[in-house]
Subunit: 135 residues, 2 copies
């Protein structure tokens, strides 16, 4: 699991551009080691700092207006392996080891449906029962 | 290359939630067939319609405030192979065949740097010279 020191975190955060999305947010793409994209969420500076400090992904919930540790309720944590930054320094790509499933619906990835003609067709793998996990 | 008819596009667009980001935008993750994430950009309804209609990715440029066909200047188009939609129906994942490079800096992917201790270390592959391409 990848963790960073306080001085490394300060240097990294200073490089990031949080100005592009209202509320000071960055889009974060989460991908597993096989290349599967699990989810996209948003992080503010606090969430980026927590992710780098703990080695587990943290995001900012726009609906609840609060910091959110991924998997805190479900136990389906994301252990950070590598963090990539894009050309504009306003987007992160985090490679993780996903415990359980990445999506609150029980699928391994949030992108469990493909556009098939005019319809949404389920192609993802269900790995847990949300009624059991979030009771 | 994946294209959709007018009636399919109307059905798909009706399923999408453009309300989460100011200006009616969705984040779009672009990935190649090997699982490499190339870029993240934003699309409004018009950009989604153009992508589905033509089979090439289109986005909305927040800085230029206009529709943008990826690769229009450089020739580095993205041919759409598959489109996935997330659980909240507010984010798209598009798998493409990337012609040339995905990043305006000349790298194949915009995520060409990894966080290595407090520094940004280049690990990506440079595939073109931007001074030649954008002259």
């Amino acid at each position: 699991m990848k963790k960073f020191s306080k001085s490394e975190i300060d240097k990294i955060v200073a490089e990031l551009d949080f100005s592009k999305i209202e509320g000071g947010l960055l889009p974060v793409v989460v991908q597993d080691h096989k290349g599967k994209v699990l989810m996209v969420a948003f992080a503010n500076e606090d969430a980026v700092r927590k992710s780098l400090e703990t080695g587990y992904t943290h995001f900012y919930s726009r609906s609840r207006k609060s910091l959110w540790k991924k998997g805190e309720t479900s136990g389906h944590l994301q252990e950070i392996q590598e963090i990539y930054i894009d050309c504009d320094q306003d987007t992160l790509l985090i490679k993780v080891h996903q415990l359980g499933g990445g999506c609150h619906t029980g699928y391994y990835s949030c992108f469990y449906r493909i556009l098939d003609e005019g319809k949404l067709k389920i192609v993802g793998r269900k790995v847990f029962d949300p009624e059991e996990v979030y009771k």
